[in-house]
Symmetry: C2
Subunit: 690 residues, 2 copies
């Protein structure tokens, strides 16, 4: 049964088992040697931008348009971020947050009985779209409604919902999410803040034990939060029960309450419209009722009780309910990158430099092969991630909205957490890389603040390390994959995981080497059988592309497991073995997530009706698949799945695809639907749009 | 003879022909399989930080210490960049520039008779070191003394030196360098501003022909420049003679002169202490004498004369004298990256997170294999680039300071320009990547402005595209390599270059395929002869490492040439052929520059006396060489120079080297000698240093 779950995840995922090659248009040649795009039969697809935008906007097109409208109406915030003082701008962002709350866009994920929209998927869509605008506003919205509101909704019970939700949804009660400490960010289980139950007064006493235990980088803490959800070690009668969450009042009418000290984190690289700060608690007393008690409680007679016995499992279950935070950051990163791509592609069809093909007229940047090579793979990756994010968001919605059996539920939640962690890591790194490349592709004009790259770069920079450091998240993904064989994996910390893998699971892993099951599964759909499927399939056959990524995933994963086992069998310190294999662990996780991302894109493309749109997106999907393989072609050669000539053929095919995509590249960015009011950039676009 | 020059460049470069393996310490095993570093015989080298710093500081240790002292004394500018308004901060940076000028550090490259130091190398060393501090100050210094002052020194004659140098060296006359226009950045030859000679008044009339011809992004233009060196198309009697430079007075007592309009470029991503702006000239009249006339003049009777007949050659000769600008930016990028590496490595030995090897204590970040993998290759690359930059700076000094025969001189200048272009491209991309990775490795604490990453990222971002866009620079390098066979290559614009290659040079190139000459040259030093040198040499043999990079360079370059020829022979548009091969062209240039960089590091290491310092730097040099090969191992496999097992062995060796370097990693960054006053970052370093 466990094996079955694993098979499901590894071999079918959410993607299609067998994809038919799209009809019509250009069919890739396997080893093209031509240097020009024009072949007699080729016609560039004509892209219907409106239809493509509808496809991208998906189920929540109306929600996205509501947010687009709100952003366009308040586009002046992009100027204000540059002209206002920091205190003024913080107030401005707070006021905008309340305005957005009034429009309903920020409360969509909360129950309707408290004034919410009762649709988690809508709430994610709204948040993602907010990333087209000023990102301080986005992050403040995330802190207030996602983290603070989300914790009360997911970790609290009816008494907390009744007490807080209506006010916080309306923006009347602002709060913060006090988890991270100066000494502990990634390792949340090791937080030092203590909440001691005092039976004599029926209260908890919250204490910051030392300066390393101060809460740090907490958004909304420096100025606006009137309450905090504080994560602390719960102690009852001298016994520790692990990290739990408590509602702690912080301010009344703007003044800090007794026992609470706050320090401003000061100027940051970006997001300066958010008031991040540090908090110290000096024996702050709160009523017992303020424990968010969905998963654990202290009874009237002062006993600790929880339906989940195992403390590690309890902890990870609590954290798991907050997964939307990661889903939202992932989507925000992907959408912020769209703004950068829109600017860079539109600039590149306007800007001319150097006489290349004609002595009389300089060449448009986007007609240079190198410029296409710089931008199009990122554009294709953005589309791939967009569809992977869409699948992730829908799954998030379903897991938290649709009732199902408890077992299924747990399996689904685990898969969701892994997928959220992986997509967040790849999506935010994609944002950093894409914004950087787009800025460079816009030269000096891109360096002016009015061109938006300054804020895009500075504001998104922290996305790769907040809501889970990306490297830690990929280790989480790998941990899930490695321990899929047993049901009690939640108990394992990093050290435990290694020991566990060493002791129990490796026989199973090793049995599965050589990816023979995978090969069985793909034998039917690719020519050449077991031995030659990788030689004889067409490069642009999605079954081939997926088979390559599945092979890599399976092989890397079993390789890591064997390596860990070998080291531990040799009597080495398991932690040391793990540390040495860490790059391999990360590679396995990345291979897994990249496979999921490609599957999402292939599935989306395959589901389209025949026609130009499908032809265009198939070209883009092929570009994404082949650049993914090309980037790791050394690995495929090392593992006998790519010959030298075929590897070079992939590089040629990528260049060929860039040429094919050139005619509709502008349509691809226009379909993002970034409101013109938000683009600014007169020097890039030739005029002030809007 | 041409062939001889090419051989010299390709096969010997500045690097050693035969390197002996260092004595003492750890000798790398070819295919290590151990997972732990301790072998019975191994002793980690003990690094003498003072000696290493002396090695890094090199010939100009005193100059560097002078600048370090000045920066430490005025370290408050790092705070002021964050607290002052933009106008205030611009004034502050201007004042600091004058203070630095008073100390003598900014005038070292100018002749002593005007108050300079008469030592170009010292001036480069001073500028590089300035990159440890606030980068607005660095760039303003670069604009004033490097660009404005450099143009007057290198393009002007004695009358201009007498008129301006003393004042500009002292900071009494501030100027700007008005080359770039809104419509033309990289393609300087196509500038639109016109300087028409009016014989009736013996004046030039400077005119901005349209808005695309306005000068743009010009540092010092918005507020402080009283004069500009303006680049414009020189027209005499209706005939155009190409781009020339003119001194144009701009302001008197801060007020703009008639006919000159200026607009502030506004807020930028970074460098906001520099007043960049746009300039329009409305028939501004200047005396004939204001033409910087070293390479061309207009005579008393109104005739255009130049010792260089060919206009393209004249233009490139003029530009070539300004090469120091690139050399300086290259060094600045490499040194800014040192600040980031210092912070990230020092943080990583303090910060603990997760229990890995012990259940009782969390692990220091730098003991994780992944963290080493993230930081050490960048650290090694920084050292490699440091030594390549040192070689470049010394060559710059020699070319401009030591008299030699005209032929030799021209050859040396050409080589210098290529090396400056290539090192600038790799050095500034290194800076962008390193600063980003170091920020991520410092998590949330790295996001606070006090941690310096905010300014480092924002300020250095434009380094990759100013003073020559990096991609354009690498094409310049490739162009030099491809046309080394003929002496008149300076005449060739991008289009011409392609035609030239097609028409004349390819026979020679093709003859040189298969790198047989290279193999001859390395046959003596590596085992196995022609066929098996790449299989039998030790991975840590520098001769092997260099042979790999030389093979790649030779092979890539001849491949590009053949590809261009094939396309043109087939009757395709040469520009289109070039555009399609552009990624290949860039790869060839990069292969060339990476070879030069490794040669510099190997030569430096090989020249050290036996001892721990040599052992330590040899480990670092090996890490750099092997990560360079590893990054491009797909290419080596595709071209038959790396087997799968050997490719995997390189990856293992890289991990092994990371472990070996771990014990002295902090020494490596301490030897940079970044003054503690400049580090700030209390949250990263545990206290406010200094």
């Amino acid at each position: 049964m466990v094996e079955e779950a694993r098979r499901r995840r590894l071999e079918s995922g959410d993607g299609p088992d067998r994809v038919t090659t799209p009809a019509g248009g250009y069919n890739g040649v396997m080893t093209s040697t031509t240097e020009t795009p024009e072949t007699a039969s080729y016609r560039a697809p004509s892209v219907d931008v409106t239809a493509l935008r509808r496809l991208l906007d998906g189920r929540y097109a109306e929600v996205r348009d509501l947010v687009r409208g709100n952003l366009a109406e308040h586009a002046s915030v992009l100027d204000e971020a540059e002209t206002m003082s920091r205190p003024e701008f913080r107030e401005r962002v707070k006021d905008l947050l309340v305005l957005m709350a009034d429009s309903g866009q920020t409360g969509m994920g909360f129950p309707q009985e408290y004034g919410g929209g009762g649709d988690l998927g809508a709430s994610i869509a709204a948040f993602e779209t907010l990333a087209y605008g000023d990102l301080s506003l986005l992050v403040k919205v995330g802190v207030q409604f996602g983290l603070f509101g989300g914790a009360i909704l997911m970790l609290g019970s009816k008494r907390h919902h009744d007490a807080y939700l209506e006010d916080l949804i309306a923006g009347r009660l602002l709060g913060c999410f006090a988890m991270t400490e100066s000494g502990h960010g990634s390792n949340v289980q090791a937080l030092d803040t203590v909440a001691t139950y005092d039976g004599s007064t029926d209260e908890f006493v919250i204490t910051t034990t030392d300066d390393d235990a101060r809460k740090d980088y907490i958004g909304n803490a420096a100025q606006h939060a009137e309450a905090a959800v504080v994560f602390a070690q719960l102690e009852v009668d001298g016994e520790r029960h692990g990290v739990h969450a408590f509602v702690v009042p912080m301010r009344r009418s703007g003044a800090l309450l007794a026992g609470i000290r706050v320090e401003d984190d000061g100027l940051k690289m970006g997001l300066n419209g958010v008031d991040n700060g540090r908090i110290w608690f000096d024996r702050v007393r709160i009523p017992r009722d303020n424990l968010l008690n969905r998963f654990a409680d202290v009874t009237d007679d002062g006993r600790y009780v929880s339906p989940i016995d195992n403390p590690d499992r309890r902890f990870f279950t609590m954290l798991g309910t907050l997964v939307q935070g990661r889903v939202c950051v992932s989507g925000a990163g992907i959408n912020a990158a769209k703004v950068a791509l829109t600017l860079a592609v539109r600039y590149a069809v306007r800007r001319r430099q150097f006489n290349a093909t004609s002595p009389n007229e300089e060449e448009v940047l986007l007609d240079y092969g190198l410029h296409q090579r710089r931008l199009f793979p990122l554009l294709a990756e953005n589309y791939a991630l967009h569809f992977a994010q869409e699948a992730l968001a829908l799954k998030t919605h379903d897991v938290f909205s649709v009732a199902s059996a408890e077992d299924e539920d747990e399996q689904a939640r685990r898969e969701l957490e892994s997928r959220a962690a992986g997509t967040k890591a790849l999506g935010t790194w994609h944002a950093t890389r894409t914004i950087q490349e787009c800025r460079e592709a816009c030269g000096g004009a891109g360096y002016l603040a009015v061109s938006r790259f300054a804020a895009l770069k500075a504001d998104t920079d922290v996305f790769t390390t907040f809501e889970g450091d990306n490297h830690v998240l990929l280790q989480l993904v790998a941990k899930g994959l490695l321990t899929d064989y047993a049901s009690d994996f939640e108990d394992l910390d990093q050290l435990g995981m290694v020991r566990f893998v060493a002791g129990m699971a490796l026989e199973t892993v090793i049995e599965r080497t050589a990816a023979h099951k995978l090969l069985e599964a793909i034998k039917d759909v690719l020519p050449g059988g077991d031995d030659r499927w990788d030689q004889e399939a067409g490069l642009r056959d999605p079954n081939y592309q997926l088979a390559m990524l599945r092979f890599r995933e399976e092989h890397t994963l079993s390789g890591v497991a064997r390596r860990l086992k070998r080291g531990i069998d040799a009597g080495l310190n398991p932690g040391e073995v793990f540390s040495r294999a860490q790059d391999h662990v990360i590679a396995a996780a990345r291979a897994h997530v990249e496979r999921l991302v490609l599957e999402a894109f292939v599935a989306k493309t395959a589901a389209l009706p025949d026609g130009d749109l499908r032809v265009a997106l198939t070209l883009l999907c092929d570009l994404h698949a082949l650049t993914t393989i090309e980037r790791d072609r050394a690995w495929f050669m090392e593992h006998g799945r790519l010959t030298s000539p075929r590897s070079k053929a992939i590089t040629r095919e990528v260049n060929e695809l860039c040429l094919r995509i050139r005619p509709f590249a502008v349509d691809l960015v226009d379909a993002y639907g970034v409101p013109p009011e938000l683009l600014r950039s007169p020097d890039l676009l030739g005029s002030v749009p809007g």
